[in-house]
């Protein structure tokens, strides 16, 4: 008699699961969306997909009786996707319209701007400090 307790469900290997997830990322459907038709115009959205995962395991040393003192394993992963362009098919022809991620561009501009300002400020401070006499020089001049 087969009961739920006796029934053994085969467990998938985590590595195989990870590889199957990668295979999903590698399929064309992950990057190219369903074509949207509006009159004579067809639009295919394109996006970039990236995915990464890692896993590891380890065990502790053996005790006096030869039993393992401990073991552990863990894993993690992440995925991201963002729109890159749109393919527009019309009666006149096919063209690719890029998609600009304004938030990313503004953040990169702000970060670079702040970095430039700090660096230039540091250069000016260095120049000023090289012109000004140091405290040790002032002390020596007072002593003499």
């Amino acid at each position: 008699m087969i009961t739920d307790e006796n029934l053994q469900i085969p467990r998938a290997d985590p590595t195989e699961q990870a590889l199957s997830k990668l295979a999903i990322t590698a399929s064309a459907d992950a990057v190219f969306g369903e074509p949207v038709v509006n009159g004579d115009t067809t639009v295919i959205p394109c996006s970039e997909v990236a995915m990464g995962m890692g896993m590891g395991s380890g065990g502790g040393p053996m005790d006096e009786k030869g039993n393992p003192t401990g073991s552990g394993s863990g894993g993690g992963g992440g995925a991201r996707g963002r729109p890159v362009a749109a393919i527009i098919i019309t009666q006149e022809g096919v063209r690719v319209e890029p998609i600009f991620d304004i938030t990313k561009i503004v953040l990169a501009s702000l970060t670079t701007g702040i970095f430039i300002l700090l660096w230039i400020g540091r250069l000016f401070l260095m120049r000023r400090s090289s012109r000004m006499p140091s405290i040790s020089k002032i002390r020596r001049s007072i002593e003499s």
Partner: protein, 100 residues
Amino acid sequence: MQRQLKAPILHISETRGSTVETSNKQTTPIGRVVQVRLPFASVSWHRPLAVEVRQEGTTYRLPIYDATSRVISLIVFTGLVTVLVPFVIRTILLRRRRTS
């Protein structure tokens, strides 16, 4: 002894999306997959590469550019040049002053 097939660490391949057929042309989007497979980790990067258009017997490819990445690279490059050029000029001037 059975020999096991080893998967390559770096695997680059092309994928083709479903072809869209309009009145006089066939459009097929093409993507590129870069996969890095290690025993303990794996990374996959898939991005659109081009569009292949087949029209009246001729086939041509339109490249798909990642505009956002290009703009960000340009901003970062401009920032580095803006910082490095005054620094290099200052260093050269200081060395000249020391030698003279």
